[in-house]
Symmetry: C2
Subunit: 113 residues, 2 copies
């Protein structure tokens, strides 16, 4: 549970930046090199590498070096952690709405009998 | 677009903390007072208030004071911003898978004719 929570901290923090979200968005269309991504972000390579490392250390992307080129690939599974958390909240809201509906229905029944 | 991006930054940052996620989770079951939430978080009120302010300034909760009690209510709409962003990524992945499937199907057709 603590591990899951720490994972969520990292993923949410990684997503709290427009450059990193743009990388995830771009990689959703397929792998790309760090150089290509840095150009699209109009950033110097050293500045951009900080974002790449942040995304990689939080499991949102994987990178592999071949010769002088480092290629980045999206790890979709890690975004599923966020989706799961959101689904869990929605489930709670649903339960609450159900309880409220039952309460309203029961009150109506009591009032009509 | 820049406004939407800044909103996402704030929401993701607000969610990157277990105490704040616990508050959202708790408020999913219904409103609660700051005092009650702070006790559940086993935090002093001043430390806890920083989290409340962070959640409120990013639109995830609303608070209202009545006498000496400040009550917090979840604003579900703000979490929808995150859901929309995730759905947009999924849509991209779907398009990519579609393109790949078309490519594979077309290749097969070319090979069998």
């Amino acid at each position: 549970m603590a591990q899951y929570s720490a994972k969520l901290d990292g993923v949410f923090l990684a997503l709290a930046d427009p450059t990193r979200r743009a990388v995830i968005h771009r990689l959703g269309r397929g792998p790309a090199s760090v150089g290509e991504l840095a150009r699209e972000a109009t950033m110097t390579l050293p500045s951009f590498m900080k974002h790449v490392r942040m995304l990689e250390s939080n499991g949102l992307i994987r990178t592999a070096k071949s010769g002088r080129v480092r290629t980045c690939v999206l790890d979709r599974e890690r975004l599923a952690v966020v989706e799961d958390w959101l689904a869990e909240q929605r489930r709670l809201w649903g339960e609450r709405t159900d309880r409220l509906e039952r309460f309203v229905t029961n009150s109506k029944e009591r009032n009509t009998t």
